[in-house]
Symmetry: C2
Subunit: 286 residues, 2 copies
């Protein structure tokens, strides 16, 4: 059983469970972290059922037995640090906030990974593979994401550009043609200027891919929406991890394109690597 799917398996099989098994499920969902250290007797007592019922429950959600279930649960919890909430406080030490920032980022990435629409992603990759040129639009924090994306696609021998300036964006949009692709990146999903540019691009017959929250104007304005929802408490001490999710999603697109381009690309990358070498300090030999 894939660990990440366990709590989901529990919740989704809730209706099909027997009455007393459901008691077990409910108790477990309400006490995820404690359950992994419980013995079957304790759990049975707390859930007010008999021990065999617990075992039956474990089998019902696809595990071998109680031990196997606990193991799977422990793994899922370890891979989703969110279950213990992460929020940096005033009193945190360096070590504490460092861990929290990293953990919350990891948490975001895992959640995004599990919520992606793979069909859309595939469509996006297909579109990018046959594109004549690819441009990235983004403002604010997304401008950096666009720059990064441009750099990444450039390495893949795709003619790529990134615009953070509304004027340039609109000028570029006006020059788009069928066979071109624009990737619009927005964290809020509600940037008016960006939506205008997107409409213009669509009217020119080019394809617009959006990386934005679901149900947002930006996502809705796209031909291929890639939706990413990160609950972003806009408190200061909460780091903005949606940027990172956007970047990783673009990595996925790039990998998809690289895969399609296949072998010839490898040579190109090697050449580029060698080209960069002249700008560097020699490697020490120790």
């Amino acid at each position: 059983m894939k660990p990440a799917a366990l709590t989901w398996a529990i919740s989704s099989s809730l209706p099909s469970l027997r009455k007393s098994e459901r008691k077990v499920a409910e108790f477990i969902l309400a006490n995820l972290t404690n359950v992994i250290r419980m013995r079957i007797v304790d759990l049975a007592e707390k859930a007010e059922v008999s021990e065999p019922t617990v075992v039956r429950f474990c089998r019902a959600v696809g595990c071998e037995g109680f031990q196997d279930f606990k193991l799977a649960l422990a793994q899922q919890l370890a891979s989703s640090p969110s279950y213990g909430q992460i929020a940096v406080t005033d009193q945190d030490s360096v070590a504490e906030y460092t861990f929290k920032v990293f953990d919350s980022t990891v948490d975001t990435l895992l959640k995004v990974r599990d919520s992606l629409d793979l069909k859309m992603l595939d469509q996006a990759v297909q579109a990018l593979c046959v594109a004549n040129r690819v441009e990235f639009y983004g403002f604010g924090a997304s401008a950096a994401v666009a720059t990064d994306a441009q750099h990444k696609f450039f390495r893949l021998q795709v003619s790529a550009a990134a615009y953070a300036d509304p004027h340039l964006q609109n000028m570029s949009a006006a020059s788009m043609a069928p066979g071109d692709v624009v990737i619009a990146i927005s964290q809020s999903g509600r940037t008016t200027t960006l939506i205008n540019a997107m409409e213009r691009v669509k009217s020119r017959g080019a394809i617009v891919i959006a990386i934005a929250p679901s149900d947002s104007p930006v996502a809705n304005a796209a031909n291929i929406p890639l939706t990413i929802d990160v609950k972003e408490d806009f408190q200061i001490y909460t780091p903005l991890s949606s940027r990172i999710a956007h970047l990783v999603l673009i990595d996925v697109l790039a990998i998809g394109v690289a895969q399609h381009k296949g072998g010839r690309l490898q040579e190109h990358l090697l050449e580029m690597q060698l080209g960069l070498e002249v700008l560097r300090e020699p490697l020490e030999n120790h």
Copy 2:
């Protein structure tokens, strides 16, 4: 016991273990993934020791008993996907490479998190807190990181700039003064131009923080080196996750600064939030 530290605890306590306990440790390290599904009898047999020895070993590495040990190990393995190797292949489906890209990024982040020098990090935060102005230097992929960092620090009411152009970088470097801080970002750690700019900044009496691989010329040229080592197979199909690690590290620095700045910042961020709102589409009410 903190799960992430388990295998480390095992390896590091190897010398202090007794002969037969070491047999257990060695077997476990060589069979991490299998061990979590083993019973104590199997493990004892495979490691050619008695069952109590296994229990003694578990206690020696800081666990309550065998069960507790297995749980901790399972959690650690779940939180480090790397133990099953991640490399995108030609035949991977969208789902496969998507997961691999996300997982390898997560893996990188967790490794970096555990290898950071927190003392240096604290020094960097201290320096940034009292800085008059902060500038970010980076080329290539690190240029996007620098842009992102600039944006992030700007939000924290720090006068920040980012330069990806060697000329601008050098001009800026020449205008540095004591009390200023430069953060030099490099994935290779060997960019000659960057090192020159760093030397110039240092000669002006400003502080240079480097984000670069350890033992690299860039790291060595800094007053405060923040070292990040990501084993980056320069194969095409391996995503560049060191960028992401750099970004997250900068998040940490930003959080550190935000924490020091304390309450007044909160108001500022709220104001800025409201300011951005006029550039956006209205929120739908559904």
